[in-house]
């Protein structure tokens, strides 16, 4: 299935993200990953997923899957307030820059093999993912945001709010959530 970028002028090139048509694929990739990482941006507290905020959804997800979180921008405090302590606070470009270094990981040993992104301005995530596509061949990336991100390895297509909520719920269920 093909998809177009949400901001239409953002034409990526020959290598475009595979479209997530079955959210269970994301669950399977998370379960299969040896060292996943979640990179959460400032929009996690501005974006609603069904009857809660994206930040609350992500806390459920990473809690179930055991994924360490890097909170970008100033958003770490929002996780703290909810009783979840992210592994690190780093800028979006800082963490992506480090992810291009196969010898770096949040835990200090090994190399991350899967990075999930959520809650960034569309164009910022677009370029951050591009940086990884070109400089981090060891890494697979998934955008969990609502709009198609062609520079990711996997991305949802452009979805309505309801479709997106449903998809995220299915991802959660796929890893054992409610």
């Amino acid at each position: 299935m093909s998809a177009t970028a949400w901001q239409k002028a953002e034409v990526a090139g020959p290598k475009k993200a595979l479209v997530i048509t079955k959210p269970q694929v994301v669950s399977a990739m998370i379960k299969r990953a040896k060292m996943p990482i979640m990179i959460a941006g400032h929009k996690v507290t501005e974006t609603a997923v069904s009857n809660k905020l994206l930040v609350d959804y992500l806390i459920d997800l990473v809690g179930l899957a055991g994924i360490p979180v890097v909170a970008t921008a100033h958003v770490i405090g929002e996780f703290d307030k909810r009783g979840y302590r992210p592994k690190a606070s780093m800028s979006l470009v800082d963490v992506c820059n480090r992810l291009t270094d196969a010898s770096w990981s949040l835990g200090g040993t090994g190399s991350h093999d899967l990075a999930l992104f959520a809650g960034h301005d569309y164009y910022m995530q677009w370029l951050a993912l591009s940086g990884l596509k070109h400089a981090a061949p060891q890494l697979k990336t998934i955008s969990l945001d609502r709009y198609y991100q062609p520079h990711a390895t996997w991305s949802f297509p452009n979805l309505s709010e309801q479709e997106w909520c449903n998809s995220l719920q299915q991802v959660l269920r796929g890893i054992g959530g409610q």
């Binding site: 239409k8 090139g13 970008t72 690190a88 470009v93 992506c96 569309y122 370029l127 940086g131 070109h134």
Partner: protein
Amino acid sequence: MKLKVKELKTDLGTFKDLEISLGRVVDESWEEPMGPTPYPSITDLRQWDRTLLERYKPFYMPFCDLCCLCTYGKCDLTAGKRGACGLDMFGQQSRIVLLAVCIGCSTHTSHAREMVDHLTEKLGRGYRLDAGNAVQVEAPLTRLVCGVRPQNLGDLEEVLEYIENQITQLLAATHTGQEGDPLDFESKVFHGGMLDHVAMEVADIAQISAYNFPKSEPDAPFAEIGLASIDTSKPVVLCVGHNVASGVEVMDYLAANKLTGKVEACGLCCTAIDITRYDQSAKIVGPMSWELRFLRAGIPDVIMVDEQCVRADTLEEAQRIGSPVIATSNKITYGLPDRTHDDADSIVNDLVHKKILGAVILDPELAAEVAVRTALQVAPTRTSMKKPLSKEAVIKRAEECVHCKECLRACPNGLEVENAVEAAKGGDLSKLVEVYHKCIACGRCEEACKSHLPLITIFQSAAEQVVKGEKFAVRVGRGAIQDTEIREVGAPIVLGEIPGVIAFVGCPNYPRGPDDLIEMAEQLLRRNYIVMTSGCSAMTIGMRRGEENKSLYEEYPGSFSAGGLVNVGSCVSNSHITGAAIKIASIFAKRRLRGNYEEIADYILNRVGAVGIAWGAMSQKAASIASGCWRLGVPVIVGPHGIKYRRMLLGRKEKREDWMVYDARSGEKVYVGPAPEHLFYVAETKEEAIVVAAKLCIRANDTSKGRQIKLSNYIDLHKRYYGRMPDDIHLLVRTMADVPITMKEEILKILEEKGWEETIIPDPTLLPRMIRKKVE
């Protein structure tokens, strides 16, 4: 310099077709010895650049996977592939950055060239440059880079020739089959940025001197800014762009013909800043993002464009409102007839009677006369154009929306345009007003709209009451920083007692409206940072009233001192910001300036806590301005859209080996921590930007008292915006004396947990030649 003599008879004999070439004339009256790199070539400072780039490595983020710059291509450079020319993606991206910087640098240089040529023609090569009585180091960048001390307008020509030559070489390096190493591309980027700052300095000291702009005046006068500051009952001449020559002539023509106060002269973008430096009866409409708004409001009776940052569709927009356009620069001619050599009467007649839509007039005096006379005649016929849409008309147009959401997809900031239009259908215009507040008026939504709605006009009309209140006060650009100011604050800046110098510069491509910028400036002023500003950012900072109904310019002094808000002027005045950093090294620390780039940059990197924030940076000029900061050791933070510059320069604070410097006293290598951590950084939010700015002010040479103050601000801001302590305190505390007293308990616990060990505070340098005593 070349001398040609057809025939010269001397005692020695007769010489025919004699040609003598002279190198540069050295100013023997300047006692300061020449440093190692006067007029540096594109490789002379490469070692310094690579030293910086080893610490602050590029992180590339390509827009797309392709290179499409030559007919070998398009070439797919995805993930390690090379193109037909052999270049890989990192090389290609650094090449794109260099291209952007060449565009930016050449734009300022061309501006400077036009200004110097114009003023030389008017005033002569011998016209004395004068930056003000309190300024002895009148051209710090020119002195530093070129090793010359310009005294007259004519002295600037040689400097411009050097820059023009260097830009040609830099641009040549971007050709297919030239440079291939990303870091060497980046070194050339730095070179272009350095040249850019010299070019800006040339342009500004020429115009300050010739037009008698405020000369380093902390108490520069105020001017009015905002749409509501324009009296629409009078004929209105709008000047748009950056080259003030024709705007100055407008003010002179008005004065000479007793029309001052009877005709509104106003400006957009940097021309606006500069005409108010000349005459405060001129008004500033706002930064460049106000252009489409102002045109759609139908207010200007004549639109006079010069150069840079002028919308390419100005002529089409002018036609919509029935206003003639006068193009005064050979860089923007819009297909209009060149009437430079016609008499004013005939041009005015043709414009007033719409025989022509506009005219190219490359003589500033003639352009000014034509603009004012045309405005006087056209204005009475245009009164009906100067009204916004009624509420009923807004609702009626809103009903044409077909909910395709193309506006949402086109908006660079994802503003909820469709929802606002939907609400307007039911008579609720409040959401349109919200969009107006955040909108940068780029017009992309209109281009996408399937119903061809004039959305910018709709937002503005809905916000009519808001627009009526848009009248503020801005202190006009003061020019350079006085030598005496540098003497007074040099020590507290270098020792760290003033927590930092933070410059808000660049374009108004704001992610969430102008308020973020104003809030950041205010927060830093309250904390006694020196806040400098220029160009569109300087305008934006003045466009909000605080609790006492005052703009920040009315609340804070204009001096280069703790808590001062220093508007240096227009885009080209950015040179005074880097110039101030250089002058701290020269005047306060008495380091030699002349042709001594590396030493001064090394000093600034390690000692002067200066940071630039280009929150809405959009242009190639902003790229070159930033590049000039990087080579000089000044970090730059950009707002979210700045990520589209596609390359950051990032330090890795956990890599201890990256943060070693020489102690100039002993030659030993010493760990100084990540100070400053990055050279080019993009922030997602204002909260992130302000915290990172406070951190990037930290320098290796801070005294313990200074480090305490800087850490206090960093930690306090981090707690306020991030809600917890930063995770890198242990990397920024060198000795126990660095620990802020009020936070001692908390910090000591962290230091213990992290296994922190005390280090020394060195006399830091990255240059081996600065070591005074070699290690035995």
